[in-house]
């Protein structure tokens, strides 16, 4: 990453360094792979089915919209496939086929193409789809209901639901290592904490996502959860628990960092991540929903244009007494 303060330009001709949207998309998919593979190995064929259907449906919707809007076909850039993949990672493995079809329609058509395709979406498409599905089919998106027929030998109560209903003592038998290794029920690709962290670090090192957003998001989840935990340890879980359960990690590395719906400057990125983290914990601990990541990030997506107003002064402007 070039030093932002110093911009040295050389004369033309320039050399394309090979980075492209499709490279970014495939890198993102590669980064998501560890978590996805663990999901498939845990939930078996149904998870693979949801993933495959979701990715292919997302690409088909994209193609249909390209034809309908008389635009050049854009499925080659892999962005639709990434949306489909992220959407499937958030879903429970038992999601029925029609939910995946509707969800990818919402994600690709309403979340992305309606606004003008890649780079124009004000909200994260996968999150739009998940939010709408959560509002419509609550029991299908409830991991306790959805995964009731699975038993992997560890506590199969969705941790965030458990803490919401029974307080901190109900979740004392989840240990940190277990949570990191994916020993918790959840979405197909959201449970394997270590895999998500590795994938996220890879994306950061490759320069596809910004560490400012991920770090500030995780830090503010930690701090806010810590404050709650200090105020009432019986009722609110410890901060590490909040970091490793639900959608927190996938949100920090894959969802909040989506290009066009997150800020571009240093300070706004920190604010964006911090507010999303605070909102997440507030919704989890006080709000009506079990997991707050989806709505917290969507709300910050909406606030994104405002955050982008915080930017360095343009050269020569704003000097009143020159």
């Amino acid at each position: 990453m070039p030093d932002e303060k110093l911009f040295i330009g050389s004369h033309a001709p320039y050399w394309h360094n090979g980075s492209s949207i499709s490279a970014k998309s495939y890198d993102t998919m590669l980064a998501a792979l560890p978590a996805v593979v663990l999901g498939i190995s845990q939930y078996g064929a149904p998870a693979l089915g949801v993933l495959a259907l979701s990715v292919s449906c997302a690409m088909i919707w994209e193609l249909i919209m390209n034809v309908a809007m008389k635009r050049p076909a854009s499925i080659g850039d892999g962005n639709a496939a990434v949306i489909g993949l992220l959407f499937a990672m958030l879903m429970p493995a038992t999601a029925p086929w029609w939910a995946v079809v509707v969800g990818t329609f919402v994600a690709v058509v309403i979340g992305k193409q309606i606004f003008g395709g890649i780079g124009c979406n004000p909200l994260n498409p996968a999150l739009v789809a998940i939010a709408i599905l959560m509002l419509s089919w609550e029991s299908m998106m409830d991991f306790n209901d959805a995964l009731v027929n699975y038993d992997f030998g560890f506590n199969m109560i969705y941790p965030l639901a458990a803490i919401k209903s029974f307080g901190a003592s109900a979740v004392s038998d989840y240990n940190t290592v277990g949570l990191l290794m994916g020993q918790q029920p959840g979405g197909i690709g959201t449970t394997f904490g270590l895999g998500l962290i590795i994938g996220g670090l890879y994306l950061i090192l490759r320069g596809h996502i910004r560490w400012e957003i991920s770090l500030s998001f995780l830090a503010s989840v930690f701090v806010t959860a810590l404050l709650f935990n200090l105020s009432d340890p019986d009722k609110y879980a410890n901060p590490v628990f909040h970091l490793l359960t639900g959608y927190t990690l996938i949100g920090a590395f894959f969802l909040a960092t989506e290009d066009s719906s997150s800020p571009v400057n240093f300070f706004p990125m920190l604010l964006y991540g911090a507010f999303a983290g605070i909102l997440t914990v507030l919704i989890r601990n006080i709000g009506a929903f079990v997991d707050g990541v989806v709505f917290a990030i969507l709300m910050m997506n909406v606030a994104n244009p405002l955050l982008d107003k915080i930017r360095p002064k343009a050269m020569g402007k704003g000097i009143k007494h020159a």
Partner: protein, 197 residues
């Protein structure tokens, strides 16, 4: 007048159909179209008020002083809205309960004031009647179309009759408020696509 009475009537059905072409009257459009019954009821109530107020304002257009015309329009419209409200309470009380605040809110509907100001105050009684009826029916059609989509997808029913089998899980997002915005937006988009050809 260059246009015939028939033309005044038919323009409300396609060329100037509210709320898709003249994007007015969105508040009831978004709020009451949860079910077909509500949509049609709202459309009929608005059509009645629109026709009556158009005729009355057109009759009185030479008496109403220019300076206070808006106030006079509002008095006329408010009178008819209150009449509709009372009649609905007396005869279709369940529908009145469902539409609730949106019946009195017809008073501030932009379509009514818009037609009064832009058309009835300048044209004769017969063409004003045709204009009011056309716009009113157009509004009813739009509301019905929107509410059919929302009710069929959102509750799985059409006019309270189930249309899908019992295995259908209603897409309840459609009957919530954000669903109204998304659905209306998509319909506007389709209308524009059809209109271009």
């Amino acid at each position: 007048m260059a246009k015939t009475v028939v033309q005044e009537f038919t323009k409300g059905l396609w060329a100037e159909i509210p709320p898709f072409r003249i994007v007015l009257g969105l508040c009831p459009t978004l709020a009451v179209t949860k079910s077909v019954e509500n949509g049609i009821g709202m459309g009929i109530a608005l059509t009645f008020v629109l026709v009556c107020s158009n005729v009355v304002i057109s009759l009185l257009r030479n008496i109403i002083p220019k300076q206070v015309r808006i106030a006079c329009f509002i008095v006329v419209i408010a009178t008819f809205v209150t009449v509709v409200e009372l009649v609905m309470q007396a005869y279709t009380y369940p529908l009145f309960l469902k539409l609730g605040i949106f019946i009195p809110l017809i008073v501030v509907n932009c379509i009514l004031l818009g037609r009064a100001e832009a058309f009835a105050a300048k044209n004769g009684v017969i063409s004003s009647f045709a204009d009011g009826l056309g716009i009113g029916i157009g509004f009813t059609l739009s509301l019905t179309a929107l509410s059919i989509i929302r009710e069929v997808l959102g509750s799985g029913t059409f006019y309270n009759i189930p249309v899908f089998g019992p295995s259908f899980k209603p897409f309840s997002f459609m009957i919530q408020a954000p669903g109204a915005f998304v659905c209306l937006g998509l319909m506007l988009c389709v209308m524009n696509m059809l209109g271009k050809k």
